[in-house]
């Protein structure tokens, strides 16, 4: 690993150089306070002063709906049209860590060619951030990156410190080395350390993830799950915005006038009603409470037991997305015995009151 220095005014010239051979994806503003990753040609669209995109960058590697292949009775033609050279610039540490988890999922027992081919052609250029009240990544220890990036930009006053995390990252720098500077002064190092210390202290949200597997086990039959199930709108948003969710559905889209079919792959969510429906119409998790329990058990227990860390990277997307406040923070805190203020909590109290009446 090597660290180099880049003057702020050299950032766009650098992006100009590297985007010649690949599509550059970067955060752009979609709403007043909400951003999305978009393939950009006009760099003035890039807005690095963003908190979190609505949908995580996994969307770029595996879009919500893709054609997998077209088949007839005797032929089969794969569709890898989503595979192209891409550079994702401006990814925050939580999302870089989430992609590490995605890499593991899609290579776990069998290689998923649709993901891995797209991933092999994609370079990850991380970018430093500052936490807001919903960022939980310090608790999940994903507020820093140790792997999964090709370059990582830490923004200081007048320049960036750029971590080179892979040989492909190094190749990017070498395309125009004159833009970079190798001599990092003691003052630069001190500025970086001060920034890092201040950032560590700026986190407001916190959960103790170490206890989560035990708490989920101990509270597996807790009334909490029924309370959550009563309020849950089953909209699937927590799942669709989660950077480590990876379930999908596959269906046939027969072509009219041809004896052929397109096989479509689309994101699925275990929090949705028809996710657990099997042939014959049986559904194992008709109850919303059971579905939420599955999601949280996966994120906060099963994955920790297997890999020693949660399948949550603390990005805060479920916190800003769930209309009824069911999210890692309120559920985690409730499991730890803390009081929380959330719609699902107030809703249950209200319903109980009305039953008593």
């Amino acid at each position: 690993m090597r660290i180099v220095k880049l003057k702020k005014e050299n950032l766009f010239p650098f992006l100009e150089v590297i985007s010649k051979e690949a599509d550059l994806w970067a955060p752009v503003k979609k709403y007043e306070d909400k951003h999305v990753f978009k393939a950009v040609e006009d760099f003035s669209e890039i807005d690095l002063d963003y908190q979190r995109t609505i949908i995580p960058p996994r969307r770029i590697l595996l879009p919500p709906k893709t054609n997998m292949f077209e088949a007839t009775q005797n032929t089969y033609k794969e569709d890898f049209s989503n595979v192209s050279k891409k550079i994702i610039f401006g990814i925050h540490a939580c999302d870089v860590n989430a992609l590490v988890i995605m890499d593991r999922f899609y290579n776990f027992a069998y290689d998923d060619p649709y993901y891995t081919r797209a991933r092999e052609n994609t370079l990850i250029l991380g970018y430093s951030c500052w936490p807001d009240e919903h960022c939980l990544c310090k608790s999940t220890n994903t507020h820093i990156v140790t792997e999964g990036y090709d370059l990582f930009f830490s923004k200081l006053d007048t320049h960036y410190l750029v971590w080179i995390g892979s040989s492909q990252g190094d190749d990017l720098i070498r395309k125009q080395p004159s833009l970079f500077n190798e001599d990092i002064s003691d003052k630069d190092i001190q500025t970086y350390l001060n920034w890092q210390k201040e950032r560590e202290d700026a986190f407001q949200a916190e959960i103790d993830f170490i206890d989560m597997p035990d708490l989920i086990e101990l509270k597996y039959n807790d009334p909490l799950w029924e309370e959550l199930g009563k309020a849950c709108l089953a909209c699937g948003s927590c799942t669709n915005v989660c950077p480590t969710c990876n379930c999908y559905n596959v269906y046939d889209k027969p072509i009219l006038g041809k004896n052929a079919s397109k096989i479509v792959r689309c994101w699925d969510a275990c929090t949705l009603e028809n996710y657990s429906e099997v042939a014959g119409g049986e559904n194992f998790r008709e109850n919303r409470a059971d579905r939420l329990k599955l999601w949280y058990t996966h994120k906060l227990q099963a994955y920790i037991s297997k890999y020693g860390k949660p399948a949550c990277v603390g990005c805060g997307r479920c916190i800003v997305s769930c209309p009824v406040d069911i999210n890692v923070l309120t559920v985690g805190k409730t499991l730890s015995g803390e009081k929380v203020d959330a719609f699902w909590k107030r809703f249950n109290l209200q319903v109980k009151k009305e039953v008593r009446k």
Partner: protein
């Protein structure tokens, strides 16, 4: 070859005829549609209609007269598969917005006075499954082109259609929209069948529910959520009832009870 094609009938009861129109509007695919199926009856598209036995009948519109009840029963009898297409056929449409029979009679008199109907007797508007067994439902107001073509092609090839049970929110998130409900806007996305492509929310307008109510939608929770956000309860009920036809009657009754 001609004989192996499935015999199809497309029928319109009371509605805006938007669903039949949408089928005709599949201009690029129209030749393929007529090539792949033997369209026996389709009043909007042709005049030489044959009313005989059918493999599949697509029925749009709600049932609002006694004559239509007869017509519908006759279609059922002649068809192996009956599909309800569009909001009016699937839930009854806006005209079936839950009203008790007494209230309906009063409204009817208010609009038509004591006029005597000679042609056929009007009845309270209902979805087609109030009178006959329905094999499949294709919601929408009107139905969506892509959804219809996938559905139609599958059924022509003898495969049951995919069941859509997702709320609008799923596609809305695919499209990376900001959640309007979270922002305090009365959006019915979580309670509404997916299929429209989240078109309103894509344009920053809330979902009005026109694809019809999602069977498993958590109406109670969203009702309380909207109430907490300061919406008037009558307004919430009106919005929820608008495109739900007769299908959320029991939920609305529960709310009435609660008021008392």
């Amino acid at each position: 070859m001609e004989n192996s094609k499935l015999k199809i009938g497309i029928y319109e009861l009371t509605g805006c005829a938007g669903d039949a129109l949408l089928i005709l509007d599949c201009e690029k695919e129209l030749i393929d549609i007529f090539n792949a199926a033997d369209i026996q009856s389709f009043v909007m598209a042709k005049s030489d209609n044959i009313e005989g036995d059918l493999d599949i009948a697509l029925v749009e519109g709600s049932v609002t007269t006694e004559k239509e009840i007869e017509e519908l029963k006759d279609i059922r009898q002649r068809s192996k598969i009956v599909v309800a297409i569009g909001l009016c056929a699937t839930v009854g449409g806006i005209q079936a917005r839950f009203l008790d029979p007494k209230e309906w009679n009063e409204r009817f008199k208010k609009v038509y006075g004591n006029i005597e109907m000679t042609h056929t007797k009007p009845v309270q508007s209902k979805p087609i499954d109030a009178y006959i067994d329905v094999d499949f439902y294709l919601p929408g107001c009107p139905i969506g082109k892509e959804q219809f073509l996938i559905f139609f092609t599958r059924i022509l090839k003898g495969n049951p259609p995919e069941k859509s049970q997702n709320p609008v929110c799923v596609t809305c998130k695919y499209n990376e929209n900001d959640c309007l409900l979270k922002k305090g806007i009365l959006c019915l996305g979580p309670l509404t069948e997916d299929g429209c492509g989240a078109i309103c929310i894509n344009h920053n307008l809330p979902c009005a529910g026109c694809w019809g109510p999602l069977k498993t939608g958590n109406r109670t929770s969203e009702y309380y959520l909207l109430k907490e956000k300061g919406f008037d309860v009558e307004h919430i009920k009106k919005k929820m009832a608008n495109y739900s036809g007769t299908k959320i009657a029991s939920f609305l009754k529960e709310l009435e009870k609660e008021k008392k």
